[in-house]
């Protein structure tokens, strides 16, 4: 259905446009002046100044694998994150924890865990879906590399970024 928009009636000085143009130019020159004399300050000089200390708790940087207080890699290779990841950045090859291991009860671990940071869109769905509180989006955001291979974070790299996560549920305790 067509909608008729009623146009405002302009008087002659408005129709001349010149006052409006002058007003506009006054506004822009004001911004120019304020900026020139340093009265407005909005731009952060990125590599020298960083936002890191202001980063909010919920910041979504590079996804990373974490260990818990007992030193266990929390991921059990359930591959839910691989499934949920919208750009399919995650690739996991599961493995079986050998019988004698300290964490043999967990049975399964990620033999390989790669996140292709060229693909990752920092959506955080992997963190959200993980049933083991094993993957978190950390505050690292400057992910760079010279080759495509550089940009694939393998398990070691992910654990290095992730570090230790305290206060998570320890459901694989012998008691539980």
């Amino acid at each position: 259905m067509a909608i008729t928009v009623s146009r405002p009636k302009l008087n002659w000085s408005e129709r001349l446009y010149l006052p409006a143009i002058a007003a506009g130019m006054a506004i822009t020159i004001k911004h120019f002046k304020n900026m020139l004399f340093g009265r407005t300050k909005v731009t952060m000089q990125y590599p020298e100044e960083k936002w890191d200390s202001h980063m909010p708790e919920h910041y979504r940087g590079a996804p990373a694998l974490v260990r818990d207080d007992t030193g266990r890699v929390r991921c059990v290779a359930c591959q839910l994150c691989e499934f949920i990841c919208p750009p399919r950045a995650i690739k996991i090859i599961p493995g079986e924890i050998p019988a004698g291991d300290r964490f043999a009860k967990v049975e399964k671990f990620p033999h390989e865990f790669d996140i292709d940071m060229i693909r990752c869109i920092y959506c955080g769905l992997c963190e959200e879906v993980c049933p083991e509180q094993a993957i978190y989006l950390r505050k690292d955001y400057a992910i760079t590399g010279f080759t495509r291979a550089d940009m694939v974070h393998n398990k070691e790299k992910l654990l290095e970024i992730g570090g230790v996560m305290h206060g998570v549920v320890l459901k694989w305790n012998e008691k539980k």
Binding site: V76, A77, C78, Q79, L80, E82, F83, P94, G95, E96, A99, K105, V106, E107, K108, P131, E132, K171, K175, K176
Partner: protein, 574 residues
């Protein structure tokens, strides 16, 4: 079988019709009257009527012990008047006397005038309660449990269970990660004691190895002392286990089931041709599971066939066509290799050439092979019989999946009868060229030296074996999961293979190789009597084949369907 379920029947007219009432009984399901044949299990009847009842212990191919209590429903029988006739209500239908307590639906057959409520508040309450009990001691294993994604416990928990547990005590600890047999791993904490696996071993595999020990919440599944679950059907227990208690040691931790692409196919490891689902991801096969086909394999398959796919992804696969140049095999383009083979064969007349075909080839390939034989003028053609121990469950002694196809299509009349002539001919030097299609001539008694002495030895195969280095042309082909085609099983049922993965390297579909070889030899894309159309797809092969063989008349690959077509013999229903 369900006769009517959409329509509501007038009870009086149904009762008055003796013809229908002889085999059919009237059952009221959730207020609607349906008719079912006598002897139908109530749980099945409700499912056919569109009200699925959750179940754990019930399996339609096994007996019903009724021990999981998941299938509880409300049930009632018609109220009988003093004249032993059902009392009719105001709507002219029998009044149902509802039983005060819920009943299990899996151990009950339908009977005349039976009333069922599958979704009443009582039934819902019962399911909720059963779910809560089942989960009391169940571990939080889903992230590492292979069943996750196809787990009944997960599914019914979502549909009928509670979100939270009220259980405060410690869970009962049970043994985990036990090797129950060479191919099956048991996790007792996950077992819900449904006894499906026990009944399968007793009733289907006839190998009574499993049982429960201990009492109450400490009950566990275990193998009888001194026994292991190692019969050739053990992996079926993994399929029917509704939870992740029994897992396949082969598939364990390999891939989550939700990634698997499922392709309907059938097993080519023996003449039975059990129907299967092939689970693949990104061109890798992870597992085969049986698919129900009551004319072939019921719901089962043997472990031997199930696990017999690893060779498709072995590093022995031939990936590149090769031709003999000087005294070495060198990689070649396809057209070069085909032409090379054709030119070599042209040096000899038909009686100097032998063809060794295979009972593992599809009908389409065998038909093209017989065309090739005709064009070459070859008389000396046979397939290699393959025998192995069988049983009276599924596994056949004939380990070739398509011996019937080879016979129907006239590749051989008595399989193996001419193998002698072939070996003798080669040893005596009368036969100068050998075409081996999917078979290793060393296995029929030839030696490597004898093969090497042949002026022309064309091999089409998928795996590298000892004979390959004696070949003058190597044509790498596809395995059963990589191609489409049809085979006829030992009982005369025509079944269809579907492609589930792409072939590796430069290997090619067998029918294409044979078609190209025929074309390179004769210059015609078809057969000698220059039928119009030519062959451009596997459907074309089937069409031309069905024109010459009445057994295939009116069929096409798509008409074969997922369950196959009986083309001779009788349909044996298990």
């Amino acid at each position: 079988m369900l006769v009517e379920h959409e329509q509501e029947h007038d009870y009086e007219t149904l009762m008055a019709d003796p013809a229908t009432s002889a085999q059919l009984v009237n059952v009221q399901i959730n207020g609607v009257w349906h008719q079912f044949p006598k002897g139908t299990r109530l749980i099945e009847a409700c499912e056919q009527a569109g009200s699925y009842i959750p179940r754990y212990c019930y399996h339609k191919k096994l007996t019903s012990p009724g021990n999981c209590r998941m299938c509880l429903i409300e049930m009632g029988l018609p109220k009988m008047g003093p004249d032993r006739k059902p009392e009719l209500g105001e709507d002219g239908k029998p009044v149902i006397n509802w039983m005060p307590r819920p009943q299990i639906s899996c151990a009950q057959d339908v009977s005349e005038g039976l009333g069922v409520r599958t979704d009443s508040p009582l039934a819902q309450e019962c399911r909720k309660g059963v779910m809560e009990f089942l989960l009391i001691n169940h571990p939080l294993d889903c992230p590492i449990c292979d069943q996750a994604g196809e787990c009944r416990l997960q599914e019914f928990s979502v549909e009928y269970g509670n979100a939270e547990s009220r259980f405060l005590e410690n869970k009962v600890k049970k043994p985990k990660n036990i090797e129950l047999g060479p191919r099956v791993t048991l996790d007792d904490e996950r077992c819900i004691l449904c006894s499906r696996c026990i009944r399968f071993c007793q009733e289907i595999a006839h190998d009574d190895v499993l049982g429960f020990i201990d009492r109450g919440s400490h009950s566990v599944l275990t193998a009888h002392p001194g026994k292991r679950l190692e019969n050739n059907y053990s992996l079926n227990t993994v399929d029917i286990c509704p939870v992740g208690a029994l897992t396949s040691s082969d598939f364990r931790f390999q891939m989550r089931v939700w990634f698997l692409k499922e392709t309907k196919s059938f097993c080519t490891s023996c003449a039975t041709g059990c129907n299967t689902i092939i689970g693949t991801r990104q061109d890798a096969i992870y597992r085969q599971t049986p698919r129900e086909n009551n004319a072939v394999n019921s719901s089962w398959m043997c472990d031997y066939g199930r696990l017999n796919f690893g060779y498709l992804q072995s590093d022995k696969r031939l990936l590149q066509p090769e031709i003999l140049s000087g005294d070495k095999l060198i990689a070649a383009e396809w057209n070069v290799a085909i032409t090379h083979a054709a030119v070599q064969l042209k040096h000899f007349s038909g009686w100097e050439i032998a063809i060794l075909a295979s009972g593992r080839m599809t009908n389409e390939e065998l038909w093209l092979t017989s065309r090739l034989a005709k064009i070459l003028g070859v008389e000396l053609i046979d397939i290699v019989p393959r025998q192995g121990p069988g049983d009276d469950i599924l596994l056949s002694t004939d380990r070739n999946p398509n011996m019937n196809g080879a016979q129907i299509l006239g590749v051989t009349r008595w399989p193996g009868a001419r193998l002698r002539d072939i070996t003798d001919g080669i040893i005596s030097g009368r036969v100068k060229a050998l075409v081996a299609l999917g078979e290793n001539p060393i296995e029929i008694g030839l030696t490597f030296a004898q093969l090497q002495a042949l002026p022309a030895f064309v091999v089409m195969n998928l795996l590298e074996d000892e004979s390959i280095s004696a070949a003058t042309a190597v044509l790498p082909s596809f395995g059963f999961a990589e191609k489409r085609g049809s085979m006829i099983n030992g009982k005369g049922r025509l079944q269809r293979l579907n492609r589930s993965v792409r072939g590796p390297g430069e290997a090619r579909d067998d029918w294409e190789i044979l078609r190209d070889l025929i074309q390179a030899y004769s210059g015609q894309n078809s057969e000698t009597d220059s039928r119009p159309g030519g062959i451009h797809s596997i459907e074309d092969v089937f069409r031309q084949m069905s024109e010459s063989f009445p057994q295939f008349a009116g069929l096409s690959l798509s008409k074969i369907g997922d369950l196959g077509v009986q083309i001779f013999g009788t349909e044996a229903t298990r």
